[in-house]
């Protein structure tokens, strides 16, 4: 008799308003929250966009000089691959990235642990980092060229600077977030401070190191291109800039695709390394 009252949340209703239902089967209200994947949609949409692009260029709705067709870019890339020109530029950029990135990662981990674990380095390092971190690294490039010359060292240095800060800050945060209980456990089992850094802090911050590397590689790609546009005779950035000067839009596009591929490659690589080095996290 009173059912209507209960189900309508306090608003009185006459029982006649609603038909009597004999059975009410319970439905899962959260079904729309379940994660669904649409792999075919991702692939199809990608292909459709490429086809549309091809059409727009083939029909010359947009002049090919501004937007070359994907097929044209591909054949340009193939020619550059055959002549070996592409390798010259990719290797030049890659070696700069690898040098700068590696130096920055090692330094970043060391400095991050020092300022994270010891109070005196923290007191000295923190304001220095706070003051230098906000400077766009590309603005320091002219100074670096003045100091280190126009060759490789200045380019490597600007990449290293760019990667160093996010790495250091990540490691510092990681050290601060290592569970103090684990440090106490290590102390109670007989570790001294140096052993705690090696056996507790270092494995504890590994996930943060990888996060720093992923962040850093994006910055490294950005800075290598910028540095090569300022002064270089090889490299993807140099290739893009000269192609633009000569209105070789296809070649320019090849450069952009190379950068995208490099980014994807590095991300994949770090993901694999993470699985190998952090087996305790699924």
């Amino acid at each position: 008799m009173n059912q209507g009252k209960f189900f309508s949340g306090g608003v009185p209703e006459t029982p006649i308003d609603r038909p009597v239902i004999e059975k009410a089967i319970v439905q899962d209200k959260t079904s729309f929250l379940q994660i669904k994947t649409h792999p075919w949609l991702s692939i199809a949409s990608f292909i459709i966009i490429l086809l549309l692009w091809e059409m727009v260029s083939q029909m010359e709705w947009i002049p090919p000089l501004f937007l070359p067709a994907p097929s044209g870019i591909l054949s340009e890339g193939w020619t550059m691959l055959k002549t070996g020109l592409i390798f010259k530029h990719v290797f030049a950029s890659l070696s700069r990235i690898l040098w700068g990135f590696s130096i920055a990662c090692i330094l970043g981990v060391v400095v991050g642990i020092l300022i994270g674990f010891f109070s005196i380095p923290e007191a000295i390092g923190n304001p220095l980092i706070a003051a230098t971190f906000p400077i766009p690294k590309i603005a320091i490039l002219p100074l670096l060229i003045l100091w280190l010359g126009i060759g490789e060292p200045s380019k490597i240095a600007v990449i290293a600077l760019g990667v160093f800060f996010p790495m250091t800050i990540n490691v510092y945060t990681g050290v601060k977030n290592v569970d103090p209980l684990l440090i106490k456990a290590a102390l109670s089992l007989g570790s001294n401070r140096a052993r705690i850094i090696r056996k507790v802090i270092l494995p504890g911050i590994l996930p943060m190191i990888f996060a720093g590397m992923k962040l850093g590689i994006g910055i490294a790609l950005l800075l290598v291109v910028a540095a090569e546009m300022v002064a270089a005779d090889a490299g993807i950035g140099f290739m893009i800039l000269t192609a633009a000067d000569l209105m070789q839009t296809k070649k320019l596009m090849v450069g952009l695709i190379l950068l995208s591929l490099l980014g994807i490659l590095f991300n994949w690589l770090f993901q694999k390394l993470e699985h190998i080095f952090i087996p305790w996290k699924q």
Partner: protein
């Protein structure tokens, strides 16, 4: 070996200068091969007491003395923490090896000792699992083995079973009782569970609510080995009632007055 807890007091002072007295004038001893349980209502400073004995916290006054001990490099105490503190990046075996590595033993000797304790806690076949792949009870056993493997003069346990479900907890009490009877290690066990205190201890130290003071020290005269049969015995229940009598009013006051 004998551990003397000598007129220990602890006062916490926070940043705003507010003072909390956690422990007041605690004095008792732990004899060699003795299982001492400290029981008290929540917030009586039980964990503070354990941290000071472990050397992880400084006392405001008083001292902890280990009498008649050889001066070797090994830590005198080992702790089983309430939250376990297993290293998530180390497997079962590597967790148990941790303290042995720090003693600089030979690799083969380390492994031999670790294997002995893995067998004692019944975790053969799980040596290469990571902590996140284990159940609560299994993790607890790894933590106990890790502490035992370091062969401390005094084993400290801080409410080790409080995070377990009620059934696992009872089984782990039997297990610990068995392991202790096997190893006869001097042990200080902290709990708020009276049944657990009576079941495990040779002696029970009853603490008052904050500031923690010793209300009573009750020797538990029950035979060993202790097992399931004990929990229905009249003398066991009398001890439980006796301790509950001491703690009841303290717990009530603690309940009514939030810190």
């Amino acid at each position: 070996m004998r551990v003397l807890i000598d007129h220990l007091s602890k006062v916490y002072k926070d940043r705003h200068g507010e003072v909390t007295e956690a422990l007041r004038d605690i004095t008792f001893t732990i004899e060699e091969n003795e299982f001492v349980v400290v029981v008290g209502p929540s917030g009586c400073g039980k964990s503070t007491l354990l941290s000071i004995i472990a050397g992880l916290l400084s006392a405001t006054s008083g001292q902890i003395v280990f009498e008649d001990v050889r001066n070797d490099l090994k830590p005198h105490t080992a702790i089983v923490f309430q939250d376990l503190a297993l290293f998530p990046w180390r497997t079962v075996l590597k967790n148990i090896l941790y303290g042995l590595e720090e003693q600089g033993l030979k690799k083969t000797a380390q492994l031999e000792i670790a294997q002995k304790y893995i067998a004692m806690i019944g975790l053969q076949g799980f040596e290469n699992r990571y902590p996140h792949q284990l159940s609560g009870g299994m993790k607890q056993r790894v933590a106990i083995a890790r502490a035992l493997a370091n062969d401390p003069l005094l084993l400290l346990m801080d409410e080790p079973f409080s995070a377990l479900d009620a059934q696992t907890r009872i089984l782990m009490q039997y297990e610990l009782s068995r392991i202790w009877e096997e190893t006869q290690k001097s042990l200080l066990y902290i709990t708020h569970n009276i049944q657990e205190a009576v079941f495990l201890g040779d002696r029970v130290v009853v603490l008052s609510r904050r500031p923690g003071r010793i209300l009573e020290v009750v020797p538990i005269d029950l035979s060993r080995p202790r097992g399931e049969h004990l929990t229905v015995e009249k003398r066991y229940l009398e001890y439980v009632n006796l301790l509950w009598g001491y703690i009841k009013n303290q717990a009530k006051e603690a309940l009514e007055q939030t810190p």
